[in-house]
Amino acid sequence: MEVCGGQTHSIVKNGIDHLLPEGVELVHGPGCPVCVTPLEMIDKAHAIARLPDVIFCSFGDMLRVPGSAGDLFTIKSEGGDVRVVYSPIDCIKIAHANPDKKVVFFAIGFETTAPANAMLAWRAKQEGLKNVSLLVSHVLVPPALAAILQSPENRVQGFLGPGHVCAVMGYEEYEPISAKYHVPIVVSGFEPLDILQGTLMTIRQLETERGEVENQYSRILDREGNKTAQKLVFQVFQVGDRNWRGIGTIPQSGYHLRAEFADYDAEKLFDVAQIATRESEICISGEILRGIKKPKDCPAFGTVCTPQSPLGATMVSAEGACAAYYTYGRHLNQAKGVDVPIHSVGGAA
């Protein structure tokens, strides 16, 4: 299983999955933060974004993710002040410019994004800003790998670990997982040769019955990661349970703001606790994220569900497996036996 959505795109775009010999299959992992942000959290975001005194800021990827009713674009078109930001700290500037508004940032992501989101909370507290808060839905890779390995449905025998996540966190924390489940974890880049080399290293471990952590991406990262970034992340966040869309709650699998940052926690500041969610009955994105099914197994893929009209987040995000299959549509042709043009997601977010 390749963990990172960027790796999935590289694999599907370059047809790497078709180059591999029989018996070697790459299944697509949960490493798309937009895809695993739970519906409940998206509905909370929408409820906050609809408030008249709120400026709701988000990464562009999140705007088209469907909630129980509509998406952030819909809310914007109905008059909500929804803004795409490049960096979380842009919210500081927006807060200064709009002292009579509450600026809320949708702080999603994996470990790669955590240092940026942590800095927003840190700077806001340092400056004593009263009109900035974060709606935090942060998830962590290692507990997700453990959850996949523990599942009775699991068929994953080795992992291509997420390169840029490990550029921040290093790969030391993957060693206990590899040892406990005796499974190879090869931290890999996302270029075609990275993927192929990572796959080869994984297979060599399997053939020699090893289960270790190896680093294919040594030109970018080391075992320690970025200690400076980790320090601020742990000053702002603490580890706790998180719900993953399509997967469910995984213990100790995400970040929450520490108590000293409670004044910046949008979940505490806004009364959005009771929201009834409604998930699509057709979408199989949960099974895709767990590596049990592939996009072509979904009856809605490419018909009811497209990047223009997605049923699930895996079709929305530029890193989602369904978007990758749709963009490089040959799998659709194979699955349906029809000639379907290859579409471009067009900078999908």
Partner: protein, 118 residues
């Protein structure tokens, strides 16, 4: 969202106590925070994720990675709107390098060049 984009540091400056930089990605120049790679010098290449440099890379690696991200349509985050300094000028956000509030700086606009990627 889980990928970082390599770029060249073309200018470093202080902004309200934060070490910042202008970083060039192909034909696009954007600001990035250098707090997590504080020893970065002008002319070096860094991997940037949502406005934060997370590690250094060498020039060859940076060019190759950028090209692949471009081919994969994974550069859209660079096109997110720029929040102008003047919209939210805070007392602590004065540019110590120039003594100005930074409104004149070209990095507050997305600039496009021949090698424009997006």
């Amino acid at each position: 969202m889980c990928l970082a984009i390599p770029g060249k540091v073309v200018e470093a400056f202080d902004q309200g106590g934060m070490r910042m930089a202008k970083v060039q990605f192909g034909g696009i120049i954007r600001e990035a925070c250098l707090e997590y790679v504080p020893d970065t010098k002008v002319g070096e290449y860094v991997l940037v994720h949502v406005g934060f440099a997370i590690s250094k890379v060498d020039e060859e690696e940076a060019h190759r990675t950028y090209q692949i991200l471009e081919e994969m349509d994974q550069l859209s985050e660079l096109m997110a709107p720029v929040v102008a300094e003047r919209e939210g000028q805070a007392p602590g956000f004065r540019d110590s390098a120039t003594g100005t509030n930074g409104n004149h700086r070209p990095e507050t606009k997305v600039t496009r060049g021949k090698e424009d990627a997006c």
